[in-house]
């Protein structure tokens, strides 16, 4: 699945000028879809989309959403899907993804990636919605495992079983966030390697790497640090299992210089090369 794409970087506004003027060596960029959809009721997306269209001329651009809310009890937001479809038509991204979570209910948006209960009923609910979304968009999308800080008493299966089952029933791809697996593994006390080893190889179309904050043994997925050593180790294990899947370096807060991001991408390539050679 797009193995030649290598390691990409999250494109954030602070680096727009650098990217447009210097055209730095980067395999691809990923952006947050919602930042390029414009305002509610508006017919245009203004400067953000203008910038993205210019970036798109020189690099592949992936769209990564945070508000599909595929696990919400609310009906799918048709206006949102329409705006996403328009953006996909303009940018023509090799990969489109969002999160396996809910972000709001009752018409209100919490703008957070909230975990779902791992039950058969929710698997049915989410898989059916994913099929409808893919049918509407006319393409396969990838769903990402979120980092989480709580689990539900009535869950009936492990998170990796939940993710794999949904991907299978919806026939969608998986965006495996290796940092999220580590964060959740520490917070909930499961084995991150068990998680990696249970995910079906053919479904994984992209991986994410990021940094977290350690709040006294409880990890928060802050995206404001370099990738940690345990996550690099887990990434090596993931590459051995899934092969050279396109990988993104995410850094969304306390964003460093573009050069520092490129160093992190270079390290991901080194880890990937070493894992493949081993």
């Amino acid at each position: 699945m797009n193995q030649e794409l290598g390691v990409g970087l999250g494109l954030r506004p602070v680096h727009y000028d650098h990217v447009l003027s210097r055209r730095p060596a980067v395999s691809w960029f990923e952006v947050i879809s919602e930042n390029y959809m414009g305002l509610r009721g508006g017919s245009s997306s203004g400067r953000p989309l203008e910038v993205l269209e210019r970036v798109r001329r020189d690099y592949p651009v992936m769209l990564h959403g945070v508000s599909l809310s595929i696990g919400s009890a609310d009906a799918l937001n048709q206006d949102y899907l329409k705006r996403l479809k328009r953006l996909i038509r303009i940018i023509e991204p090799p990969l489109v993804s969002d999160h396996l979570c809910w972000t709001g209910v009752g018409g209100r948006n919490l703008h957070d990636l909230l975990p779902l209960p791992y039950t058969e009923a929710v698997v049915d609910h989410v898989a059916a919605r994913l099929r409808r979304v893919q049918e509407y968009l006319g393409r396969r999308i990838l769903v990402e495992n979120v980092s989480s800080y709580l689990t539900y008493r009535h869950s009936e299966m492990k998170e990796w079983e939940f993710l794999s089952e949904i991907a299978s029933r919806a026939d969608c791809g998986i965006l495996l966030d290796v940092n999220n697996i580590h964060v959740s593994a520490v917070n909930h006390g499961f084995s991150a390697l068990d998680y990696i080893n249970a995910i079906p190889v053919k479904r994984v179309g992209e991986m994410h790497l990021a940094g977290y904050s350690d709040e006294g043994g409880f990890l928060i997925d802050t995206h404001d640090h370099p990738v940690s050593d345990p996550v690099w180790d887990l990434y090596a294990a993931a590459i051995k299992r899934f092969g050279r899947v396109p990988t993104l370096i995410e850094w969304d807060d306390k964003i460093p210089s573009f050069g520092r991001l490129q160093q992190e991408a270079a390290r991901a390539m080194e880890v990937s090369d070493a894992a493949v050679a081993a």
Partner: protein, 294 residues
């Protein structure tokens, strides 16, 4: 369309109430302990602490979004005042959009009715300017006007032409001179004025150039002229009215306006008398549509 599992809807609504409770997650859980029945207790971190990670994040994330959209309002009120205003706003205007750019949509109207506006009477105008800046950011620009378009207009036709302004151009009249507070929005609180004591009307031109959104304090005659142009008035009529307010300085001033409008990228097309179609640049979306049609 299939229904969602009833238990999922109950769980999500219950969590939403707890995570967005103004008194904080712990206090909300004490009032509604039933919510904890959903959450697995995994020592050493208790369920309320686990919920608090999401509850704390909810307010901080939305506060950050409002801070980013209304930096001048925040500078005027200071950290604490802006936090109070934002908390009040989020209580009565919870986010109903998937995109955070919509969060501040009702902020100016809310600010104008908020008790803080009685103390900071310029606040409603300042928040209006900042929201308008946001809407201009998301408005598409037309490509630059070809200089040949201007050269081709015959001298005798100029009074009858209509100028087409860039869609990002917005004209705003405010009762308080807030433009300088907007200009200082990124400065530290102690660097220059944070507030305004006396009212004074300002005629503002807000538009987006190639890099960012600009807010310009312009004269009332220039603002009036731009408003008439935006409303489709012919140039001769626009400048005749301007001459009444400008008197002897009329010609030089009008020349300065035109030069500034063209140089600033405000003029994107010219409709000439007798033209079947206006001479205007095509937007990128128009070009895309044409390409698809071929």
């Amino acid at each position: 369309m299939p229904q969602s599992p009833p238990e999922l809807a109950r769980l999500q609504r219950s969590l939403r109430e707890i995570l967005t409770a103004p008194q904080g997650v712990r206090a909300a859980v004490r009032e509604r302990p039933g919510t904890l029945r959903w959450i697995a207790d995994v020592p050493p971190v208790d369920s309320a602490t686990r919920l608090s990670v999401y509850g704390d994040g909810y307010f901080l994330r939305l506060l950050e979004a409002l801070t980013s959209d209304f930096p001048a309002v925040k500078r005027a009120l200071g950290e604490y005042g802006f936090r109070v205003l934002s908390a009040d706003y989020l209580l009565s205007n919870p986010s109903k959009s998937p995109t955070l750019a919509d969060l501040g949509e009702a902020f100016p109207r809310f600010v104008s009715a908020h008790p803080l506006s009685r103390r900071y009477r310029f606040l409603a105008d300042l928040s209006r300017v900042e929201r308008d800046v946001m809407t201009r950011l998301f408005e598409s620009r037309l490509p630059a006007l070809d200089p040949q378009t201007i050269a081709k207009i015959r001298a005798e036709d100029w009074p009858r032409v209509r100028l087409i302004l860039d869609p990002t151009v917005l004209l705003l009249k405010v009762a308080w001179p807030v433009e300088r507070l907007w200009r200082r929005r990124e400065l530290p609180p102690n660097a220059g004025d944070r507030t305004i004591r006396r009212p004074g009307a300002q005629w503002l031109l807000i538009f987006r150039d190639e890099t960012w959104v600009r807010v310009a304090d312009i004269s009332r005659p220039e603002w009036d002229a731009l408003r008439q142009i935006k409303n489709g008035a012919r140039l001769g009529r626009v400048f005749t009215r301007a001459s009444k307010s400008l008197g002897n300085t009329h010609a030089a001033e009008v020349q300065r306006w035109l030069s500034s409008w063209v140089g600033g990228g405000l003029i994107k097309g010219i409709e000439c008398p007798g033209d079947r179609t206006p001479r205007r640049a095509r937007s990128s979306s128009q070009v895309r549509r044409l390409r698809r049609a071929k």
